[in-house]
């Protein structure tokens, strides 16, 4: 389980970095999105993996899930979503103003 999750996060980051280094703003946006997914997953996993630990206290359950990473990841998702939306708007405006979506100028 740990291996699958960490491989998944690693793939997301690798793909994100590759896309961020591309020259078109659309791929940069996609890359940043992938990287923020990876970061969110990473925080989420920071609360340890497991399927039996309940989030609330029940009789007879020793181990409880840590709720804080979930709260953190919610905040992070909201922020990265807003940021990506802004970046898309900005990229569209840059295309409208400069006539090209190349990141480093025509």
């Amino acid at each position: 389980m740990e291996l699958v999750v960490s491989l998944g996060i690693g793939t997301l980051v690798a793909g994100g970095i590759w896309l961020v280094l591309r020259e078109r703003s659309f791929s940069v946006v996609l890359g940043l999105t992938l990287m923020s997914y990876a970061a969110n997953l990473f925080i989420f996993v920071g609360g340890r993996l497991g399927s039996v630990a309940p989030p609330l206290s029940f009789e007879g359950h020793g181990a409880l899930a840590d709720p804080l990473p979930h709260a953190l990841v919610l905040t992070a998702i909201v922020i990265s979503f807003g940021m990506t939306a802004y970046l898309v708007a900005l990229a569209l405006r840059a295309v409208a103003e400069t006539g090209s979506d190349r990141v480093d100028g025509p």
Binding site: V20, T75, L90
Partner: protein, 506 residues
Amino acid sequence: MTQLPILPVLVPLVAAILMLALHKAGPVLARGLGFLSVGILALVSVLLLRQADGGTVLVVNLGNWPAPFGIAFVADRLSVLMVSITTLIAIPALLSATGGTDRKGPHFHVFFQMQLAGLNGAFLTGDLFNLFVFFEVLLIASYGLLAHGGGAARARAGMHYVALNLVGSVLFLIALGLLYGMLGTLNLADVAQRLATVPPEDAALVRTALALLVIVFVLKSALMPLGFWLPNAYPAATAPVAALFAVLTKVGVYALLRLSSVSFEAPVAEGLLLPWLMPVALATMAVATMGALAAPRLAVVVAHLLVLSTGILAAAIAVGGVPMLAAMLYYLPHTTLVTAALFLMAGRIAEQRGPAEDRFVRAARLSGTGWLAAGFLALAVAVAGLPPLSGFLGKVMLLTAAPAGAMGYAFWTILIVSGFVAALGLARGASVIFWEPPPESLADTRVPPPAEGAGRRVGALLLAMGFVPALVLGAAPLSAYARATAEQIMARQIYIEAVLPPGRAP
């Protein structure tokens, strides 16, 4: 009054929300609300300064949840100093913006207030995750402010700025996730305590998390390998926005200082920051010095001087110790305020030179050259660190506190050469802007600056230039405050015990 540390965040936040809710009522109301908010901030800053100067560390636990679980706001001397600098710059920046540039696009004042809320929050929070949240708040606001006014240059600079900062945010999140997974807390004071007892098998991951945090802060404060974005981004903004942005890089410096003071004493973090922060800072200073000399526009020169000052501050953090930090905390308000004034000055010059703006080319003659040139001279002398103004005092304090040894000598050399070159770069610009005769075609034309709101823009510039004599006359109390701040930072236990009172069950 015990809730005082939350007010610098709450007041601009409420003002921004009111502006959004009432935006149909017209721009006059937004301006009024903006001034009201900044006025209250000034009052709160004075109250906080008085509290902090007595040596008390004010802590607010939101909802009265005790510290490691709740959200803590901490107002110690350092935080209060940073909040006061922000407020001091916000006053002339807002005044200058109401002179017309705030009408160039919608919602300027909302972004401005959100920027202030984010800055103050970043300075006052005692929790790493909230530091991230406030970083994002101030960044979102700064994206809006940077793009304010429109145009291709702003759109392109904005694109780079946003993309870079988003990568920084992702790294920040990964570092926070790692740190929380390892230590189980993100409260700064709690982190400081738990770092002392990290088991050796976790040490590598904790070091990775701390190193990632440092990289993020280096990016935000535009230190060298990660600082090339700043001289492109800031000069693209309108002058009042660029003036406010002078504080923005200082958030990175503040975060580095805070992190180094709470965590880099721990054995797990040994050798993580200090061995390479000094070379990075020196490289920043060297590159910024060259950039200031090569810049084609006044605002770009000022942006390079801003990077230069960040390098100097980072070098001071790398050296550490009470004398060096005291010198640094005297130099920090000086450099921030003077750079902000210089951005306003560049804006004032640009608006009188028609299409040439503040580029170093021959253009229409400036009107009112006398006082403008005198003010430019004063600011240039202050920022280059020539006697008798505040920059000189700050640099002397830095030089006397520099350690012996190769790094110390390198610091001496680069600091002195950079001051000389900064003076040279500014003099080169001034000789073109003030002295070069206009080209034949423009011999008799003068570009009148936009009349509407000119009084406010000039007033804001005069206000900002007033920082220079104020910094000289207030040098004694300011350096005393800086010294006390440095002592408080170095005695880490004061901060930790204020947030986590001993004797209470964790």
